[in-house]
């Protein structure tokens, strides 16, 4: 394992933990999308560019839908 792989592993673990620990869903969404990017970089470093590309495109699509859902839920409950 190279140094850059080890650093990215640690960052990904920290990112995942941060997603869980943040309680406000609106902030959580932004951490989630950053976590997707970290995961993409990790897959890239582990020589899996195909999976990295999938993770990055899905990671850029889901936060948007979560934000829209939060807006729908907020309006329904207000």
């Amino acid at each position: 394992m190279t140094v850059i792989q080890a650093v990215t592993f640690l960052l990904t673990a920290a990112g995942g933990t941060a997603v869980v620990l943040i309680r406000d869903p609106r902030r959580q969404v932004f951490m989630l999308s950053l976590y997707g990017l970290l995961l993409g970089i990790l897959f890239m470093l582990l020589a899996a560019p195909d999976v990295a590309l999938s993770v990055i495109v899905v990671g850029s699509a889901t936060p948007l839908m979560i934000l829209a859902t939060l807006r729908i839920v907020r309006k329904a409950s207000s």
């Binding site: 195909d50 590309l53 729908i72």
Partner: protein
């Protein structure tokens, strides 16, 4: 149960679970070790057999192309189900919301227009080069859907509205999913098995190589881009809807 016994049970079970985890971690294979035979076999034979240099694509759209039919239809059914659910609710609650016009800042418009062409080209490149370089129908399709989303954000929902209440996106989605199956059936008609790669394989590394893989990538790209575009538009329409009247 007294607090003392509760604590004892908790620590006891935590120690047991921790011990099992540790036992599992110690026996893990070392970093980077690979024991399965399939990866090595494919790495050695796939380029020679299928003339496709991106082996994940060769696996997804040739060796196990039949599994990909299932995955394609999971996405198709999920998105159609979502559209049915959301539309049912919207049509009941609001009719006048189409009248509202959004204000879109000039900066967003310029950035959006600049990005649009780039996204379309990037998505098309990733779909069409799926058999040569990392990427393929799914990844490129999502990027193309982002371009469609950009039109929506730039106020193009009036354009989409004029195209017949988004029915056209659904048609494109269905056409993509159908084209995949039709390609498979045409291989059956040509005398092979369902989704057997019978097309000329071409020269490895060229755009027109890999036979059926390119066509399946394009069909998947069309289906995925329309599915995600529909998903985005339905979610955003639902979030723009005025709050429901208490009935």
């Amino acid at each position: 149960m007294t607090p003392t016994t509760r604590r004892l049970v908790c620590f006891g079970s935590a120690a047991a679970v921790g011990g099992l985890l540790l036992h599992g971690l110690v026996r893990l294979p070392s970093f980077g070790s690979y024991r399965g035979p399939y990866g090595d076999v494919l790495n050695a034979t796939a380029v020679g057999e299928r003339h496709a240099t991106n082996i994940p694509s060769a696996v997804n759209f040739d060796y196990r192309a039949f599994d990909t039919v299932g995955e394609e239809f999971i996405l198709f059914v999920a998105v159609v189900g979502l559209a049915v659910l959301f539309r049912e609710q919207r049509d009941q609650s609001c009719e006048q919301q189409q009248e509202r016009r959004r204000h879109i800042s000039e900066a967003v418009q310029w950035v959006g227009i600049g990005l649009f062409g780039f996204l379309v080209l990037l998505g098309a490149t990733i779909v069409l080069h799926g058999h040569l370089t990392p990427g393929g129908g799914f990844q490129g399709g999502v990027i193309l859907a982002m371009a469609a989303l950009l039109i929506y954000l730039l106020g193009g929902d009036e354009v989409l509205e004029r195209l017949g209440r988004r029915a056209s996106i659904e048609t494109v989605e269905a056409a993509g999913a159908g084209a995949y199956v039709l390609i498979g059936l045409s291989m059956l008609a040509a005398g092979g098995a369902f989704l057997e790669n019978l097309l000329p394989l071409g020269q490895s590394g060229r755009l027109n190589s890999g036979g059926m893989i390119v066509l399946l990538n394009v069909a998947t790209g069309v289906e995925v881009s329309a599915a995600f575009a529909l998903l985005f538009v339905e979610f955003l329409e639902e979030s723009r809807k005025p709050p429901r009247e208490p009935s």
